[in-house]
Symmetry: C2
Subunit: 196 residues, 2 copies
């Protein structure tokens, strides 16, 4: 997705070989035009999957999940990282280990909103080790709903997330795939362009 | 705003005289059509204010802030409730006391994204005691930016938030104003309908 790759090249900041800071347009300040394009692109890629619900996790997943939901005209549900006081006890839960923060969070979703028969598209801003996406998929699998796919805004392809998700049988669609951040430079995975 | 009031009446759950649960359409599962309407309504109410930036707070404020940002074509920035590892030390901070949770959180925004000259529209999902909105306004006032107004999706008008914000000189626009939740019933503030 060209607009996203251009934003990464122009506004992203490589903090280390593993960390790309995109807080000027994606996960702190949010560029609304880019988010609308991201939503359109995810909607295009999953339009044949009869998605009934989008699942993401607070906070940075909410924007791309919402613009996708607007395009597909389905509800979005965001998992919480700690239990809310006004949520009922009727919760789906999964443990998610964060390598970045070296801590395990419990993520939760109300059983009222992911239900048997749902075809769920999981959306998140980053894919690195795949822990968050696997946790979200686990929430879906605990009901008799189906994970129809996983949409990622920025994939760090030098980390094992995609391999783990594909190994578990999930389709992964990433809008920007980063091969390396070494030498303070963003290098994208070279993708075959197929003329249609 | 009729669509919002209808959603509150049909899908909201009164948990006590002080607590309205709206997690089926607003702050856990999100109805995308309603959010687009909310964004359009905020954009209409503030269209003459030459807004340059929208400021909200994670997580439930992000959806209405984003749909408003899409309409006004300005960036949205969301304050975080605890410091992110990849945010720089260059932060604006404010303390926000939560009556619901009986705890004080530090909220933070990067100084890169709220800057002198910005005309900031603050958006949040709920207004009760006004602590979150005052904290957000404090972040703006710490720079030489201006708070152009505060847009609230659901105002609990029986709590002191609006009075505090107006007392501090801010314009408050709430899309649904709840006069009371007593007797398990949502009663809206009666508003004068002016024929235009």
């Amino acid at each position: 997705m060209d607009m996203l790759k251009q934003a990464i090249l122009q506004k992203g900041v490589v903090l280390s070989d593993g960390v790309l800071k995109v807080d000027s347009f994606l996960n702190h300040q949010i560029d609304p035009i880019l988010q609308v394009e991201i939503g359109s692109e995810f909607a295009n890629r999953f339009e044949k999957n009869e998605i009934t619900k989008i699942l993401t996790i607070e906070s940075s997943g909410i924007a791309p999940a919402l613009t996708t939901a607007i395009k597909l005209n389905v509800p979005v549900v965001f998992a919480r990282k700690k239990k809310s006081l006004t949520l009922s006890s009727n919760l789906l839960t999964a443990k998610v280990y964060s390598f970045t923060k070296n801590e395990t969070n419990e993520i939760t979703v109300s059983r009222d909103f992911i239900v048997e028969g749902d075809k769920v598209l999981i959306i998140d801003d980053f894919l690195a080790n795949g822990e968050a996406a696997l946790g979200l998929a686990s929430l879906v699998e605990q009901t008799k709903a189906t994970v129809s796919g996983i949409g990622i805004v920025i994939e760090k392809s030098f980390q094992p997330g995609r391999k783990k998700l594909e190994g578990a049988g999930y389709r992964v669609e990433s809008l920007a795939r980063i091969a390396s951040l070494e030498n303070n430079t963003v290098r994208f995975v070279e993708e075959l362009i197929v003329n249609k």
